[in-house]
């Protein structure tokens, strides 16, 4: 037996993602013109990078994520993962949706199992699920049905299901939205740990400026200009510093003020 046998939980290398002039318009109601939601989104994401998507509600963050996952197709431009075109429901991605979307008739553990790559053998799969349950602190809830758990727990199950893939690209749509402040911080730290152990490329939608500052290498702001329809990238901020970051640092405080300004929130920050 040589040493090149694959490890039981094989880590997929992080993959680069490239968005080239991506636009998405939805057909309007009968008789109405089509509605442009996204336009001219141009972004190169390096392998292993964490990008946070920030923007007002309804501006198209989830829609953009759906383009990357291949669940939806752009009406303009193109996207690639690792240089190749994105397939319908591209299996190099794993998604944690904005809603948990758990199968109501399956237990928590069996829901996470759904995320395992096809063809994982039973024993390895079971071990991986147990490991993930432990990671998201839900070992005690393994045998409960989704209707028996809280919204925040369901969100963590959904995150675990996405992690089960060991994906090259991890797409997280407000993964910590329904969590209490403390669990949220714990989960953010957890994501940092996971990313260090298995560095996937992560695109993370969030409404929480501090979350973006704690997790992201770059923060991408989506916004709509008053004079034309369709949201596009209005600003990109590089966040300095290695993770885990000191949440109270002055550099982050200054960035926070900038971000809030850009989002149109008065920051009450003394300059």
């Amino acid at each position: 037996m040589t040493s090149i046998a694959p490890a039981p939980t094989q880590t997929t290398p992080a993959l680069p993602v490239s968005l080239n002039g991506v636009g998405r318009a939805f057909p309007g109601a009968p008789g109405e013109p089509e509605r442009l939601v996204l336009r001219d989104v141009e972004l190169k994401i390096a392998p292993g990078e964490i990008v946070a998507l920030l923007g007002p509600s309804g501006c198209g963050k989830s829609t953009l994520l759906r383009q990357i996952s291949g669940l939806d197709r752009p009406t303009a431009g193109s996207l690639t993962i690792d240089g190749t075109r994105i397939a319908a429901a591209d299996q190099r991605c794993a998604v944690a949706f904005q809603e948990p979307r758990l199968l109501p008739w399956r237990t928590v553990a069996r829901n996470i199992e759904l995320g395992l790559p096809r063809g994982t053998d039973r024993a390895a799969g079971r071990a991986r699920v147990a490991e993930l349950l432990d990671l998201v602190q839900l070992t005690h809830a393994a045998d409960l049905k989704p209707r028996q758990i809280s919204g925040g727990m369901a969100q963590r199950v959904s995150l675990a299901r996405a992690l089960a893939r060991n994906p090259g690209v991890l797409l997280l749509d407000e993964p910590f939205g329904a969590l209490d402040a403390l669990t949220r911080l714990t989960m953010q730290d957890l994501l940092v740990d996971i990313h260090r152990a298995e560095p996937a490329t992560i695109v993370l939608v969030t409404h929480d400026v501090d979350e973006a500052l704690a997790l992201a290498d770059r923060i991408v702001l989506l916004g709509t200009r008053f004079d034309r329809p369709g949201a596009t990238i209005s600003r990109i901020l590089e966040v300095p510093g290695k993770r885990p970051r000191d949440r109270a640092s002055t550099v982050l405080a200054r960035l926070r003020a900038q971000l809030l300004d850009a989002l149109g929130v008065p920051s009450h920050h003394d300059r």
């Binding site: 996952s69 669940l71 319908a88 429901a89 299996q91 991605c93 794993a94 998604v95 949706f97 809603e99 948990p100 979307r101 758990l102 199968l103 109501p104 008739w105 759904l114 995320g115 790559p117 096809r118 049905k145 989704p146 209707r147 028996q148 809280s150 919204g151 369901a154 299901r161 893939r165 329904a178």
Partner: protein, 292 residues
């Protein structure tokens, strides 16, 4: 006589099965009340049985009183004892058991065939847009034909033996299943289907992992409706073209003025129908526990 063939079919979302599971609330934050057992799935205990027996006991008392203490003649309103006597008499002739068995056999055979066909058609129409556009209008038109209209045709085509009756019952049982299953499959939460797709499920895996489990409650309620329809169509078939069975007992007794036997047949139908429904109900509990 009013045969309500369509009455049962379009009940797509019985409260017992889909309660509190609108797409919006399904995976979102839940209020604690949703964890409690849904209304239709209450536990059966002594008190429930006792409460359920109150009205039948009351009816029996009224019946006893009306038949014994009033001037209504026996040929219009036989007493409970006379009805039991009629049952014993038929049993001694060996007819009662035969009639019950033949009716049961027809109902179950027709139900099994019809439900299977309904399930297959419902799955086809619910899953494939093409099949939907091609088949749904025709099936809708066939469903609109009142059951009795089939009977003369079936008798001519298939003779007066078992086949036409079974066919009629199968037609009656197929439609509730077809309607509920096709509608339920069309309305499986698209979010769940998309999640399945995102996690690499192909068409077949999606069907077995997401779509079929999601419609289990609807399939069961469709089956319950189908069973009720099967009894309805059984009596229709036996009333008009039969020499055996409970429906035949009804017409035969009407022709001979045996009101006691008519009462007997109606009581038997009530008991058999309720019992078979209760048995399906037991299966429903087990399945719902597993699939929701």
């Amino acid at each position: 006589m009013s045969f309500d063939e369509r009455g049962g079919a379009p009940v797509l979302r019985p409260s017992t099965t889909t309660e509190g599971r609108s797409p919006a609330s399904r995976n979102g934050r839940k209020d604690p009340a949703q964890g409690a057992p849904a209304r239709g799935r209450r536990r059966i205990n002594g008190a429930t049985l006792l409460l359920g027996a109150v009205v039948p006991a009351l009816l029996l008392t009224i019946w006893l009183f009306a038949s014994e203490a009033t001037a209504i003649p026996d040929y219009l309103l036989p007493s409970p004892a006379q009805v039991v006597g009629a049952g014993v008499e038929l049993a001694n002739q060996g007819l009662l058991g035969t009639y019950i068995l033949i009716s049961l056999q027809r109902v179950l055979t027709g139900f099994a065939i019809g439900a299977s066909i309904g399930l297959a058609l419902g799955a086809l129409v619910g899953l494939s847009g093409l099949a939907d556009r091609m088949l749904a209008p025709t099936l809708g038109a066939i469903r609109a034909v009142p059951s009795l209209a089939w009977l003369p045709l079936l008798t001519v085509f298939l003779g007066i033996f078992e086949t036409p009756k079974i066919t009629l019952i199968a037609i009656g049982a197929a439609f509730p299943v077809y309607t509920t299953v096709s509608a339920a499959l069309r309305h499986v939460d698209p979010h769940l289907v998309e999640a399945g797709r995102a996690f690499g499920l192909g068409r077949l895996a999606l069907l077995t992992t997401v779509q079929l489990p999601a419609v289990v409650p609807s399939v069961i309620s469709g089956l319950r409706l189908a069973l009720a329809q099967a009894w309805l169509f059984l009596v229709a078939a036996e009333l008009l073209a039969s020499s055996m069975g409970l429906g035949f007992l009804l017409t035969d007794s009407a022709n001979n003025g045996r009101t006691d036997r008519i009462f007997l047949a109606i009581l038997l139908l009530a008991i058999l129908g309720k019992t078979s429904d209760a048995l399906v109900g037991l299966g429903e509990r087990a399945l719902l526990k597993r699939w929701s």
